[in-house]
């Protein structure tokens, strides 16, 4: 029922549940505010928004007083203005007017409001504590003098982020914004508190004093660190990225805001807000490099591209196009993945194009079909319960994790967390935590599926699940049977269940099996939906563009003759029919004369390190196209082509929901670097193609035509009862199981070049149970050596009593601790851990040392 009221003589109708402030703003009437934020629940602390309401004895705060039928509201009467001016004077009494030196000047709510209410100093004089700044964390600083105690930071941390790491400490005049026991912040370091601070009290330490609001340019962009696709602004000044911040349009202060706030709901996480400075890292390659006499030396673009083109042409004519292969990346835009596919298929004439999506996204797609990726975050929000399995989404898809916390806490949704590692969700958000033995996640899910299908069909499980039940699941996963049966009972009663899993490293080697088990569980439940979360910013776009050996646009299969001929018609060429080499084929010893690696540090990130080394060693000619001279480039590249970051190019990125979002170039390329689409185009022209792309948008237009011509074939969802292969044997005589997972502060190899994020995690750390450390004779903070598959990684050890005793956790993404080197071809690896040998011997891959478990 809409409500009609009068504000300053103007009749306004607003939806039920609106406040007086909502109504006034709808009527275009300004009411000053300080502690109000559409992003937060009304608080009514600052009293700046007072108005007079007829028949109300005193002025009312409009931000938290509901509008009612027939209300007569006045916003500009003498008592209202008097009250507002008084409040402003009291606020200014404790606020230093150091605006000339403040980062916030020009976009400061206190400045705006003081201007509007017409007060610039306090009759009460100035009484500022003049205290030094507090460093809340390596990235966040608090200036107690500027704080106006509106509590927005405390509230956003609680309401939106869910970390509740900031509070009001002490009371009355002495109260201040602080942390637990005045220690450094214990939170995800997302910096939402900085974003929401109305004055310059909470500050980004990397950004401080680098530009005033009126000196910076803003460009709309999309965060490139994971697949949620949070919309953001890149702030630049004179060709340099100063910082990234949430898109202010999404945090519009107009109430009654029904605007779609995008996949990130207007928020950013640590990676998005602080992980931008790799763009200007000194390690950026600024011009092409060619290896001469064993060293990489600077060269011109002409030289480099001609060399690459000649090598490709020569290999093609001497050994055939199928000896040329490319590896692309989910960090590249849609346009670029489309063009690399066109380059390889049309110009080179081979289907040898793949990426690390081969290990997670593609097997999931092949098992479930494209329909399984047809979901939205809004749909997720409407689930009654979440079963989150495997990698922690607070680490891999942080903003989605924060949103899920809100759904759990504010809407009473149930969260069941299944993981081998502790999560920030465990104690305060998850109703149930199942600590699963690494590598047995799919057996847990399959066991639940068998039990639930048996329950729903009065005892007869489908033929394929005959061998599974909760007992087998308990034995396989190491979880108590009672926990499993309670979980099954809870899921059966839960209403709609969202089965959520991140397509991350934990899935390598078992992605297809897990997807099958998840589909089985979905079939066994009355109402369930699958939410496989893509890993990289454009993992989904890469696959949709057909940038895979056996893929064509719109998730069509590589052997789909109809799609192939349609694409061939559009490109005016006959496309190769031969089976392309997948990344696995390449790693298991294909004969490659030219290997073109784009945006992937194969030597550091491949799961089968030995094979990657062999591939790189044996490839006749290696081209690396990247922002940095990564380990692949340094050791193996014959040519390095300098590419640009997301901030230096325009392009679209398709997020995990399939939403294609455009990121706008914010700065010109650093040095002589070029956008990947431009490099592909120039290379294609050198190889005799007649491409006419002028910019990324012209590629986007072509993609639109291609996608329209080759629609997704939504065959009936390929869900069906399926057996799983036997549990891999992981019992390695006293060895530990290696668990790897994304680390929020380490978004891939590129993220390691961000010095902001490096402040949070200086070095890779292996976490073990304290009892295990004691057995090894290692203290917290000492080094351990971890060995498997002929590789030896030495890292600092840390005790974590929330881990199981038989596992060791090592995060991925650190070039200095190449987890990939430890992982062989299997999904779960048993590793030997021992006290690290003296420094002189570190690095020599000596098997078996003293104290080995």
């Amino acid at each position: 029922m809409p409500v009609t009221l009068t504000v300053d003589g103007q009749e306004v109708t607003v939806p039920d549940g609106s406040t007086i402030l909502d109504a006034a703003r709808k009527a275009g009437i300004y009411i000053p505010t300080l502690c109000f934020d559409t992003f937060l629940k009304p608080y009514g602390a600052c009293r700046m928004c007072v108005v007079e309401v007829e028949r109300a004895p005193k002025p009312l705060s409009s931000c938290n007083t509901m509008a009612m039928n027939g209300m007569v509201v006045s916003t500009k009467t003498e008592p209202v203005v008097h009250a507002q001016q008084g409040i402003m004077e009291m606020t200014l009494q404790h606020h230093p007017l150091d605006c000339p030196y403040c980062d916030k000047s020009g976009v400061c709510d206190l400045q705006h409001t003081a201007y509007e209410v017409g007060v610039y100093r306090s009759k009460l004089g100035s009484d500022n504590p003049n205290e030094p700044d507090h460093e809340f964390s390596p990235l966040i600083e608090w200036d107690p003098n500027r704080c106006i105690y509106c509590g927005k930071c405390v509230r956003i941390c609680d309401e939106r982020v869910g970390d509740s790491a900031l509070t009001f400490n002490l009371r009355g005049f002495h109260s201040y914004i602080g942390t637990q026991f005045d220690e450094p912040l214990d939170c995800v370091e997302c910096g939402e508190c900085i974003e929401v601070c109305p004055v310059g009290a909470l500050l980004s330490r990397p950004f401080m004093h680098s530009g005033r609001a009126w000196q910076v340019n803003q460009s709309e962009s999309i965060c490139n660190h994971c697949s949620v696709g949070c919309q953001m602004h890149v702030e630049t000044r004179m060709g340099e990225v100063l910082r990234t911040k949430a898109n202010p349009a999404l945090r519009d202060q107009t109430p009654v805001n029904t605007r779609d706030r995008g996949p990130g709901d207007g928020m950013l996480c640590t990676r998005g807000r602080f992980g931008y400075d790799y763009i200007h890292d000194d390690g950026r390659v600024k011009q092409p490099l060619i290896r001469r006499n064993g060293t990489l030396e600077p060269a011109s673009w002409d030289e480099a591209l001609t060399l690459v083109a000649n090598q490709i042409a020569e290999a093609k004519s001497q050994h055939g196009p199928d000896t040329i292969a490319a590896i692309t990346s989910g960090r590249l835009s849609d346009e670029e993945n489309y063009l690399v596919s066109r380059l390889m298929r049309e110009v080179v004439g081979t289907n040898n194009l793949d990426s690390t999506e081969r290990w997670t996204f593609i097997p999931t797609l092949k098992t479930l079909g494209p329909a399984a990726f047809n979901f939205s975050i809004t749909q997720m929000e409407h689930m009654d319960a979440f079963l989150v399995v495997g990698g922690d989404i607070m680490e891999s898809h942080d903003v989605l994790g924060m949103r899920m916390r809100q759904w759990v806490r504010d809407q009473g949704k149930a969260l069941i967390q299944v993981s081998s590692l502790p999560s920030r969700q465990d104690s305060r958000f998850a109703q149930r935590v199942l600590r699963v033995r690494p590598g047995t996640e799919e057996h847990l899910v399959q066991g639940l599926a068998a039990e639930l299908s048996r329950q729903s069909s009065n005892g007869s499980a489908p033929e394929e699940l005959r061998d599974y039940n909760l007992e087998t699941a308990a034995a396989d996963t190491g979880i108590e049977l009672t926990d499993l049966s309670e979980t099954a009972a809870q899921l059966a009663q839960a209403g709609s269940v969202g089965i959520v899993w991140a397509l991350g490293n934990w899935l390598i080697g078992s992605a297809g099996n897990f997807a099958q088990a998840a589909a089985n569980l979905a079939l066994a439940l009355p109402e369930a939906h699958l939410f496989p979360l893509a890993a990289k910013a454009n993992s989904r776009g890469l696959v949709q563009m057909g940038a895979g050996a056996d893929l064509l646009p719109n998730f069509r299969s590589g052997d789909d003759a109809q799609a192939r001929s349609a694409l061939g018609r559009l490109w005016d060429v006959v496309l190769p029919e031969s089976q392309g080499l997948t990344l696995d084929d390449l790693l298991s010893g294909a004969d490659v004369s030219v290997l073109y690696i784009i945006g992937e540090d194969l030597a550091a990130s491949a799961r089968n390190h030995q094979q990657a080394q062999t591939l790189l060693d044996q490839a006749g000619f290696v081209v690396v196209q990247d922002l940095f001279v990564n380990s692949t480039a340094a050791e193996h590249a014959d040519v390095v082509l300098p590419a640009v970051s997301f901030a230096e190019k325009t392009g679209t990125y398709t997020n995990l929901e399939g939403r294609a979002q455009r990121a706008q170039a914010a700065i010109p390329p650093v040095g002589e670097a070029k956008a990947d689409w431009q490099i592909f185009t120039e290379l294609a022209l050198q190889l005799g193609a007649r491409w006419t792309y002028k910019n990324s948008d012209s590629v986007a237009q072509e993609i639109a035509a291609v996608l329209a011509d080759i629609p997704t074939t939504h065959s009936a969802p390929r869900f069906g009862w399926q057996e799983l292969p036997a549990l891999p044997s992981v019992n390695g005589d006293g060895k530990l199981l290696l668990v790897t997972q994304d680390h929020l502060f380490v978004p891939g190899v590129t993220g390691r070049y961000s010095s902001n994020l490096r402040r949070l995690v200086e070095e890779p750390v292996a976490e073990l149970h304290p009892a295990q450390l004691e057995r090894l004779g290692v203290s917290d903070g000492e080094k351990v050596g971890i060995q498997a598959n002929g590789a030896d990684v030495t890292v600092t050890a840390k005790a974590n009593d929330r881990l199981a005793e038989d596992v060791v956790y090592l995060p991925v993404g650190f070039p200095d601790a190449p987890v990939g080197a430890l992982l062989g071809a299997e999904a779960t690896v048993a590793v030997s851990v021992r006290a690290a040998v003296p420094a002189a011997e570190v690095g020599s891959a000596q098997p078996r040392a003293r104290n080995e478990t």
């Binding site: 900031l166 400490n169 602080g178 942390t179 637990q180 026991f181 305060r428 004691e774």
Partner: protein
């Protein structure tokens, strides 16, 4: 590895175990935050951070939230305190009847005895008719001279440490 000899450790362990029994008892009641914080202070003499972490876990709150609550109250401590605390009222009636003398005497004595007890100024204890009044730990003492007050405190120190 770098743990202290067994005895100290087990004394600490006993405290944590006792605390976790108290937490279990308190959590049956809604709104038991302050009760649990009091339990921490009872066992440790102050709000020991790790113990506050246990309370946070039990309540589904963060340590920061509990710190915010605890710092609001003046009778929670964040560092170890002497076993005896004398809280001297300095409000009007007590002031008029010599609260400052008591305060001064106790403070001097505390200093001489190397902080065997602690002296705090507090606002009204609700004992105006007994002015000048003070609390020696949980015992209310009124209508005393500075010397009598000190004797009372000394007696308490002797009882507790003896």
């Amino acid at each position: 590895m770098a743990k202290q000899p067994g005895k100290v450790e087990s004394a600490e362990a006993t405290k944590y175990a006792a605390l976790s029994r108290d937490i279990e008892e308190c959590r049956q009641e809604p709104g038991s935050t302050l009760d649990m914080l009091h339990a921490v202070q009872r066992h440790f003499g102050y709000l020991e951070p790790q113990a506050v972490g246990m309370v946070a876990e039990a309540l589904g709150l963060t340590k920061a939230q509990l710190y915010g609550v605890a710092t609001f109250y003046t009778m929670f401590f964040f560092e170890p305190k002497p076993p005896v605390i004398a809280r001297v009222c300095v409000n009007l009636s007590c002031h008029l009847r010599g609260a400052q003398d008591i305060l001064h005497t106790l403070e001097e004595a505390a200093k001489e005895q190397h902080d065997a007890f602690e002296v705090e100024e507090v606002m009204c204890l609700g004992l105006c008719e007994q002015a000048p009044a003070l609390l020696v730990n949980e015992e209310a003492v009124g209508q005393v001279s500075a010397e009598e007050a000190l004797a009372k405190v000394q007696a308490c120190v002797t009882t507790i440490s003896g």
